[in-house]
């Protein structure tokens, strides 16, 4: 069998095994890599960093477990940063399966930073039909959320008494894996001039750069790379930073396989011609 034929008939399961090894080894060996901070992530960091202590940050959980490995580290890093700055955090969710991820992150980060539910942060839950809710909060948040997710009235939390509309929210953060981030930008950014930053999966990042370029969002954290950059900026490396060497190794393998595959294709085509 010729080399080109051999290359074309490699069992795909061998490639899966190779990719698994390339991902597992860096996770176990933990090689040190330098994280270069990109401008969109630095802008997102500064948007949070420049808020005065006591300002309200609303974090919308617009992702679910299918994209948690990329977006969950962003949520954890953002919560750490917000709590460090003594900001008040309101968490809400647009996807039914997303809100438990917010609870997991809050239960991890809040005790680390000595933050108390109701005083420093609040989870107001989930409402289906996000477009009407997004526009409605511009009028009064209580029209859609009269209570937190446990059924306690919003006005029983001191910091919430002064929060009514987007005017009272310093920064809106959409952590998204789909079209919800664009809805926040178009409906809330466009109509109410709300300052917004977006953390999203790698798949969504290219379509959001146009909003960054036009100034409709203050910053963009894209994919695991973006999450690791944010972790570096707050000097608290987490799972994203740990995953980046594996990411680079996997990319290297994919590029190598692309080159080998195309070489095999070119060789077989040349042979067919002769």
């Amino acid at each position: 069998m010729k080399l080109s034929e051999r290359l074309a008939s490699v069992d795909r399961r061998l490639l899966y095994l190779l990719l698994s090894l390339v991902v597992i080894l860096p996770l176990v060996l933990k090689p040190k890599t330098r994280v270069r901070i990109s401008e969109p992530v630095r802008d997102a960091f500064q948007a949070v960093d420049q808020l005065a202590a006591g300002s309200v940050v609303m974090i919308s959980i617009d992702f679910d477990p299918s994209s948690a490995p990329e977006v969950q580290p962003m949520l954890i890093a953002l919560l750490r940063h917000a709590f460090q700055k003594n900001l008040k955090v309101i968490v809400m969710g647009q996807l039914a399966l997303g809100l438990p991820l917010a609870e997991i992150a809050l239960n991890q980060v809040a005790p680390e930073m000595n933050k108390t539910y109701g005083q420093d942060y609040l989870n107001i839950g989930y409402r289906p039909g996000y477009v009407a809710m997004m526009v409605g909060i511009g009028r009064e948040i209580r029209d859609y959320f009269r209570t937190d997710y446990r059924g306690v009235p919003l006005d029983s939390f001191e910091f919430m008494r002064s929060v009514h509309t987007y005017r009272d929210i310093g920064l809106l953060v959409s952590l998204a894996h789909g079209a919800v981030a664009e809805a926040w930008i178009q409906y809330v950014g466009g109509r109410y001039n709300q300052a917004i930053i977006v953390g999203c999966t790698g798949v969504n990042a290219p379509s959001l750069y146009q909003y960054l370029h036009s100034g409709q969002i203050k910053g963009l954290i894209g994919g695991l790379q973006g999450a690791s950059e944010y972790e570096s900026l707050i000097a608290q490396p987490g799972s994203a930073t740990l995953g980046m060497p594996a990411q680079s190794a996997a990319h290297g393998l994919i590029i190598l396989l692309l080159v080998i595959g195309n070489l095999g294709y070119l060789l077989s085509r040349r042979r067919a011609k002769t």
Binding site: V23, P69, A96, A132, V203, Q210, Q225
Partner: protein, 208 residues
């Protein structure tokens, strides 16, 4: 503590069951797949009741009645009736009734969407494109936008000057596809890393 350990073991078993599809389709994979679909649907149903129907309808109705806000209480019957009409879709004989709430939803969505599309997308993007040609980046944006628009102009055959411009347009489109595909590969690898991280960190104490 015990609940956490059981949860981690269940999650790890289901992860391995799903990954076993890479070898070949098998009953273990099918069980995990069906569990995911069923649990997601159940979760969505509970959330719809706990975070939508109960607080926005049942609780709001009772609250407004108690406050003697009769108008605000009874107006809630309008969306309730529309919601019930929507359910008629599952009964073929009266399925036509569901067209009314659907048209209401489409009308509201279109109205909201139109304003957002113009105010939050079209105008800011046009205004951002119209930048002075003083930097290379701005020049590239101009060429890219114009050439891509010409590529989607189908009223005239793409020959001569129009053909050249539309070919430039397709280069820009391909670059955009390439960037998008590159990011997609990165995202998929991240998911794999996430699962291996869970297996090696939370399930097996290999990474500490």
């Amino acid at each position: 503590m015990i609940a956490n350990i059981i949860g981690t073991w269940v999650a790890a078993t289901l992860t391995l069951a799903i990954l076993s599809f890479l070898y070949k389709d098998n009953p273990l994979y099918k069980v995990a797949e069906h569990l995911y679909v069923g649990i997601s649907a159940g979760f969505a149903l509970i959330y719809a009741w706990a975070f939508d129907v109960y607080p926005m309808l049942v609780d709001a109705f009772r609250h407004n009645l108690a406050q003697k806000n009769y108008w605000e209480a009874w107006i809630l019957m309008v969306p309730t009736i529309l919601g019930v009409m929507m359910l008629c879709r599952s009964i073929p004989k009266i399925a036509w009734i569901s067209r009314w709430p659907i048209s209401f939803t489409v009308g509201t969505g279109a109205g909201l969407g139109l304003v957002a599309a113009v105010q939050g997308y079209l105008l800011p993007q046009i205004s951002d494109t119209l930048r002075p040609l003083v930097t290379v980046n701005n020049f590239v944006v101009y060429v890219g936008v114009i050439a891509t628009l010409f590529y989607f102009y189908f009223s005239k055959e793409h020959k001569g000057g129009l053909g050249v411009v539309s070919r430039v347009g397709i280069i820009f489109i391909m670059v955009a596809f390439g960037a998008s595909f590159g990011y997609t590969v990165m995202a998929r690898i991240s998911l794999l890393i996430g699962r291996f991280y869970f297996l090696l960190h939370d399930w097996l104490p290999v990474i500490r």
